[in-house]
Amino acid sequence: MTRSVSLRLRVNGVPLERSIPPNRILLDLLREDLNLTGTKRGCDLGTCGCCTVLLDGVPTLSCLTLAKLVEGTEVTTVEGLGEHGELTALQRAFVERGATQCGFCTPGFLMTATALLRDHPTVSRKEIQEALSGNLCRCTGYVKIIEAVEAASRSGASPSLP
């Protein structure tokens, strides 16, 4: 009944080729097929930002993205941040400044902020607030998240992407 289509892309630097149903959503591909469960499902409607991943470096809501449409791109998830098991400066700042509480929104915030800091190594508080406005956090009031992004920005370490 369901046709399959082929899909080629890179996920966290690793080439991938597989056949998927044409209606496969990127979030399901990541979580269910590839077991990359760091990317979270909060609403399935693009309203919370928990499922944010980078598509060729651009923050994208994976719950609203058909997997087939990202053919040939580089997908980066939270599992792809950092090298050799080391945390990035941004991840360290999140840990040390108390920017995670329940942690469910954290991967989405990290992906959005990683792209922000790559494009704008020094950012103002207002720019951070605007960049993060598509991500919802119910625990922190965003205060410590914004502080963490500012701290990482000040530390000058540019975020590493595969």
Binding site: T37, T47, C50, V95, G98, G103, Q129, L136, R138, C139
Partner: protein, 798 residues
């Protein structure tokens, strides 16, 4: 993994507090990152929906399309026959009612005989995949016979044609009615020099946690059932599963993975948890059931839509003489925590002010709305808003400065309220003076330009409910087991649920402090009912106080054992042993000592296993009258906030510029975590005040999505200055009290008061949307224009 992340007490951890402020403790009082933060920033923390089991089936629930209707028939044979469907269940299969409070069991796993709100679940399907579940739903025929729909708790107080629940009072939809009277309220009002009356109206709000409810249940051939669930209270879930499914407790294992936020919304045992477990039993397999966001809004259990009336009287000196409160709560379709909520909406007005006379009439009525329940600062939020508005109005009437009037009326420490709450430590005065100074109150109040304002409000909250919900058998409220292995690692077993607030970190901190070891020597065993002793759950702000005390006692028991072992090795009496830097040495002579592991091994020579246990049970308290236990707590947090707002006079948009948040949580065990609770509370409270609302048209919820249910975005957050002013509580662990819920309470009225200071208009209908402000300004323009209220006659010196 980076070093800083695995060593929360390590050198990279930011330490702003000085040793004096930490009372000489190494870990207590320090700004420590949460022990699970490294897992959370790498996507490695496991939430229920991240788990997979062999042969896992997908579970889904069919929603009711009626608000109130008799179920004539649920025809499921066509769905059962669909290939790929493993089980279809309806309400009759497990009809035993359950609920969080033992005296009001009125929820069922799936609707039985009738449905009581849109979105209530009428059937459950387990199938090979989601598409098959959806197809099965299309083949299920539910025949309803519509019943009268009740969407107004006011009407629910009068006789109704069809009671929503048979257990409602008389021929009404009243679920709970409370009368209380202390002192002589009528006389106090007769003799009052001044009195004010405030009528508040509050929309219902939802917890809005980011992780939707999720449960995974697996039945195994050894006759056991394992349930992983995103729950705040694994112990109540355990009990409910046992009661409804008819399995003994020891054959059910409840595991709580990471939970993506709770705020009270994951503290009831839920229908979907029972239904999923039932599907697992029916199929003999594993079934995972994830709610979509719409379902999260329909199952709700959020803050009650509320109407209240507050009358406050004072004598000529400005002393409050009586408080008279009426509250009407829209309970929605089920009871949930409703009995408690009904009491709390009155009695949580009884601090931090001296109130010699108090009368309360509270009603909670069932309606055909999704059920209301407990939400952060449960029962204390809406009454606080109206009370603080009344205090402000009274100050205006008396020509007094509202901050000074509050200072004048504060309860002292070590006293009792008129309804016999035992007050011990009380930092309310320090809170008020701290925000007065930091906000430069005297220069700003009534003196900012029109459209800009500043407001003050106080709050207090229970630090753990003194009476447990279940009192048979009489367990301690929390027990902690410690087990030390031959590797010297200390495993902490505890049933308390870390839902992001940091209770795992607190356990590690307390145990490591007492034993003089590094936090990374401890490991907190996530909640697993097979190994964890009972904890009554993460609600009523009880965890820091109760779990903290239990953990401290367990660690002290272990310390005694290790003191004896180290004493034996060193040839000195155990009472001379001191624990620090991973060593046990003779007090005053660090060179005469052994390392921690050596002492552990010595202790094991004699005992084999090295285990210790500690528990906490609060002492009996409260009066003997009906409802006397509601609101009793072994300690209370106190707070005072000042907020500064600027209102856009063209659009009615409120820009909250800054909140000075003074909070007495006793000794802050981890100021970084406490600030996180305060900042998060301010965000949540401002949401309820300014934009969040469960919007109903009749019984139909109009906005069950995070797009239309408006939670504040980062740009809308004010600057927050946290002022932790508490001393030490005499009974809290290391002097600590709660900080999880109390911080929400004062933000709403302090901003409400600031808007009044800005515009001269007191808004009493929440949320205060830009539209309401805009219309109020339009009206006042017609009446000659809004203007700043006058400066009080009283100088703002107190």
């Amino acid at each position: 993994m980076a070093k800083s992340a695995s060593e929360p007490g390590g050198p990279t951890a930011e330490v702003r507090s000085n040793p004096a402020s930490t009372g000489g403790y190494r870990l207590i009082g320090r700004r420590l990152p949460l022990v699970d933060a490294a897992l959370k920033v790498t996507g490695r923390a496991e939430y229920t929906d991240d788990l997979k089991r062999p042969g896992l089936l997908v579970g889904r629930l069919l929603k009711s399309t009626q608000a109130h209707a008799r179920i004539v028939e649920v025809e499921v044979s066509a769905a059962r026959a669909l290939p790929g469907v493993a089980a279809v269940l309806t309400g009759e299969r497990f009809p035993t009612p359950f609920g969080v409070l033992p005296m009001t069991h009125d929820e069922t796993a799936l609707a039985v005989e009738k449905v009581r709100h849109y979105g209530e679940w009428v059937a459950a399907v387990a199938a090979q995949d989601e598409e098959t579940c959806e197809e099965a739903f299309r083949r299920i025929r539910v025949r309803y016979e519509p019943l009268p729909v009740y969407d107004d708790p006011e009407a629910g107080q009068r006789p109704v044609a069809e009671k929503i629940h048979a257990r409602a009072l008389r021929d009404t939809n009243i679920q709970k009615e409370v009368f209380q009277h202390f002192g002589d309220v009528p006389r106090a009002f007769r003799e009052a020099y001044a009195e004010v009356k405030v009528q508040g109206r509050f929309a219902g709000v939802n917890h809005g946690f980011t992780e939707p409810h999720c449960v995974l249940a697996e039945a195994t051939p050894d006759g056991r059932l394992t349930v992983w669930s995103a729950t705040q209270v694994p112990h109540y879930l355990h009990r409910a599963l046992s009661e409804v499914l008819g399995l003994p407790l020891h054959r059910i294992r409840v595991i709580k993975p990471e939970v993506g936020g709770g705020f009270g919304g994951k503290s009831d045992p839920f229908p979907h948890e029972i239904a999923c477990a039932a599907l697992a039993l029916e199929t003999g397999r594993a079934v995972k059931l994830l709610l979509d966001r719409e379902d999260v809004f329909y199952v709700n259990h959020g803050r009650h839509p509320t109407r209240n009336t507050v009358r406050l009287a004072a004598n000529e000196a400005g002393e409050f003489t009586a408080l008279d409160v009426e509250a009407l709560l829209d309970g929605g379709a089920f009871s949930s925590f409703g009995v408690v909520t009904t009491y709390y909406n009155g009695v949580l007005a009884l601090g931090p002010y001296r109130l010699p006379a108090f009368r309360y009439h509270g009603v909670r009525a069932y309606t055909n709305h999704p059920p209301s329940g407990a939400m952060r600062a449960h029962g204390g939020t809406n009454i606080r808003y109206s009370l603080e508005m009344a205090v402000d109005a009274l100050a205006e009437r008396l020509g007094r400065d509202p901050l000074a009037l509050r200072l004048q009326n504060l309860l002292s420490a070590n006293t009792q309220t008129v309804n016999e709450f035992r007050i011990t430590s009380n930092g309310a005065r320090d809170c008020l003076t701290a925000v007065r100074e930091r906000s430069r109150w005297r220069e700003r109040f009534r003196q900012l330009p029109f459209g800009e304002g500043i407001g003050v409000a106080c709050g207090f909250y229970i630090s753990g409910s003194n009476s447990p919900i279940h009192f048979t058998p009489r367990f301690p409220q929390c027990t902690v087991h410690l087990k030390v292995d031959m590797d010297g690692g200390v495993t902490i077993h505890c049933g308390a649920a870390d839902i992001g607030q940091g209770s795992k970190t607190l356990l590690a901190q307390v145990v490591a402090e007492v034993l003089g070891i590094r936090m990374d020597r401890t490991r907190v065993a996530a909640v697993d009912s097979d190994t964890a002793p009972v904890d009554l759950g993460s609600y009523s702000s009880r965890v820091t106080f109760m779990m903290g005390n239990a953990a401290k006692r367990a660690a002290e028991e272990l310390r005694e054992i290790l003191s004896r072992s180290a004493g034996e090795i060193l040839g000195h009496p155990p009472e001379e042993m001191s624990f620090e830097d991973e060593r046990i040495h003779r007090e005053g002579s660090p060179e005469v000592g052994v390392d921690f592991l050596t002492a552990v091994h010595r202790a094991m020579e004699h005992r084999g296993a090295l285990v210790a246990s500690g528990s906490y049970e609060s002492q009996p308290m409260g009066g003997t009258f009906k409802g006397a236990k509601a609101g009793t707590a072994p300690a209370y947090s106190f707070s005072a906030y000042v907020s500064h707002v600027k209102v856009d006079l063209e659009t009615g948009f409120v820009d909250v510029k800054k909140v000075w948040a003074a909070f007495d949580c006793g000794r802050a065990l981890n100021p970084l975590a406490v600030e996180g609770q305060i900042e998060g509370s301010i965000h949540m409270g401002l949401g309820q005040l300014l934009s969040e609302s469960m919007d109903y048209r009749g019984a139909r919820l109009m906005n069950p999505s995070l797009l239309e249910y408006k939670i504040l975005a980062p740009q809308q957050m004010p600057e927050v200055e946290c002022l932790l002013v508490g001393g030490e509580d005499p009974e809290g662990p290391f002097g600590a009290k709660e900080a999880g819920e109390g911080p929400l309470i004062p933000v709403l009225p302090s901003v409400g008061a600031a808007i009044h200071d800005a515009l001269g208009i007191r808004f009493l209908d929440l949320p205060i949307t830009p539209e309401k402000i805009f219309r109020a300004l339009e009206r006042s323009r017609r009446d000659g224009g809004a203007k700043k209220p006058p400066l009080p006659r009283e100088t703002t010196e107190s």
